[in-house]
Amino acid sequence: MTMQPTTAQKLWMYEKMVTSRRFEEAIARIYLEGKQPVFNMANGPIPGEMHLSDGQEPCAVGVCVHLSAEDVVTATHRPHHQAIAKDVDLKRMAAEIFGKQTGLSGGRGGHMHLFDPAVNFACSGIVGQGLGPAVGAALSRKMQGKPGVAVAYIGEGAANQGAFHEALNLASVWKLPVVFVIEDNAWGISVSKMTSTAVPHNHVRADAYAMPGHRVENNDTLAIFAVAGEAIERARAGDGPSLIEIETSRLAGHFMGDAEGYRPNGEKDALVAKDPIPAFRRHILETGEAGEDELLAIEKAASKAVDEAIAFARHSPDPEPADALTGVFIEAKPQGADA
């Protein structure tokens, strides 16, 4: 019997997906401020690269719904949906993306370096970079006898990086509570999975590490819920790691400003037509688990949370420029063994 979400879980997932989408829409809008008529990444309230997660929300919520704050997530360069599903502080996250003093890292990190220790969330900018740390966090829990699983998110392009191989082998050899989740949006920037990956699907690679491998097709929130739930339960039970590849869709460009000329004609439209959020909304309505009113209320709440976060970010002060020189090292001595 595949695992089924409760109604509460479904509504939680829906809320997080909508929050994530609203957040990306807001970011996309604001990102373009100051970048018109000439698009220059350095300008506007949100400078730098911007990798949006539109379309990939099911991968975030279908997995993270099984996690609590104590569980660990290492996310990618495309981290917003994952952060939101992991309950990262939305205001401070927005402020970090704006490079503000109130940001999660006071502006030192930016959109690819979001860290929230309260919910054990981190992300990073190099492909495959979160895999080792997730394995290490899982090792830490095992050694300390503390609960918690680690989830490492990567894109399908990252599955060809050496770190993937090493991390999966190590996690398996040491039988660690970690789940590897591949968001397969079929593209690594302009390079298609087909031209970069020797196998059609990466879940078969799990065999090389003697761990279960699963593939979820069609960006299906419920199927992700079920497969991830089982993998996480397995990890919690001490039965070791799993690999999950999820077919998902990148509804935005690789980063903002990407003209996506490399996409086959019509591909994007087809993806938009299969947008997972309206689909999940219909599902909820069809099962009668919530009515239109309730969903509207959720959507309103999501918009409000996003608006507040964005307002918080906008109105927060810039960091002190000279503070750039501080924080390379922790200054204080540690408290000793029992700290």
Binding site: A42, S190, D318
Partner: protein, 345 residues
């Protein structure tokens, strides 16, 4: 003759100059091919392979998986087998995933084999910040690459040098690391340093690897830099000229071989040295250049030499913080004033 006049005025961005050098060499040398991430249909994230896929096809312009260790290693193997691969590491910041293939194979196999294996390849890689791309996408790492023996390292400040250095690199029998600064590429979306977009002859030509250029002559202060730092230095020189200070700007163009002669000759003339380096302050390029002069003759220095370098901190995202750290013309002028105060009289 009108065409010739146009020709003489032909200004290219560094991105286009690099692509032109590549395509011209690919036309005459079938051994040259290009591989890397997004260098095919996309034309390179920084535009430096634009048009190559269309002209030469997917066999010679190869998009790769995100497998830097494999494809840099493969470039070494192909070079040793008679090809002349050009391989792109999209951001120099990514070197940590594949540096073994770079510094232990590409750089050393010529020596280890006493020249019986040759490794004629070019590793192109983008450097630099200034557009808030965060601490894993904004580094220069000049010192890191220049420190390790066996690879030549070039870093052009303008399109003329970019084409000439690329052509020279493609005709070299040695591995060359070609570091191009994102802020100079002339891609609008990264800002544009106008000084980098200059006249580029359409015929192929070489700029000698290992030879610095005097980007501006002067007699009171030598500023040594590379890449975008040259433009900061030139701007500062303009400003200081108004105050009657004559600044000489040495554009190294190559870090390996390092043109120590050019540095010393200039400092011998001016008696004062400043190094402008977007790479980290310590244990890198700025120290090496100061040592180059000091070990030759410390008495040449009328004032303590100065560095305007990126401080020893990871590169912060926030614009105000990053700007605080990055070298620019103002910081150069300030450093000059400090140098003046410290000069023994």
């Amino acid at each position: 003759m009108t065409t010739e006049v146009k020709e003489n005025e032909r200004k290219l961005t560094i991105a286009r100059a690099m692509a032109e050098a590549l395509s011209q060499e690919m036309r005459i040398d079938p051994r040259v091919f290009v591989m890397g991430e997004d260098i095919g249909a996309l034309g390179g994230v920084y535009g430096n392979t634009r048009g190559l896929l269309e002209e030469f096809g997917a066999e010679r312009v190869r998009d790769t998986p995100i497998s830097e260790t494999a494809f840099v290693g493969a470039a070494v193997g192909a070079a040793q087998d008679g090809m002349r691969p050009v391989v792109e590491l999209m951001f120099v910041d990514f070197f940590g995933v594949c540096f073994d293939a770079i510094y232990n194979l590409m750089a050393k196999n010529t020596y280890f084999s006493n020249g019986s294996f040759r490794v004629p390849m070019v590793l192109m890689t983008s450097t630099g910040g200034g557009y808030s791309d965060g601490g894993q996408h904004s580094q220069c790492l000049y010192g890191t690459f220049a420190h390790l023996p066996g690879m030549k390292v070039v870093a052009p400040s303008n399109a003329y040098d970019a084409k000439g250095l690329m052509t020279a690199a493609l005709r070299e029998d040695n591995p060359v690391v070609f570091m191009y600064h994102k802020g100079l590429q002339g891609m609008g979306w990264l800002g544009t340093e106008r000084g980098a977009t200059v006249h580029v002859p359409s015929d192929p030509y070489e700029v000698e690897i290992g030879k610095a250029a005097i980007a501006r002559e002067g007699s009171d202060l030598t500023i040594v830099s590379v890449g975008i730092g040259v433009h900061h230095a030139l701007r500062a020189a303009e400003q200081l000229e108004g105050e009657g200070i004559s600044v000489e700007v040495v554009d190294l163009r190559s870090l390996v071989p390092l043109d120590r002669e050019a540095i010393r000759t200039s400092v011998a003339k001016t008696g004062r040295l400043m190094v402008v380096d977007e790479d980290y302050h310590s244990f890198g390029m700025s120290g090496e250049i100061i040592a180059t002069v000091a070990e030759h003759d410390p008495a040449m220095l009328k004032a303590p030499p100065a560095r305007v370098a990126f401080p020893d901190v990871p590169i912060p995202f926030a614009r105000v913080m990053e700007r605080y750290c990055l070298p620019d013309a103002d910081k150069i002028v300030t450093a000059w004033r400090t140098m003046q105060l410290r000069e023994r009289t």
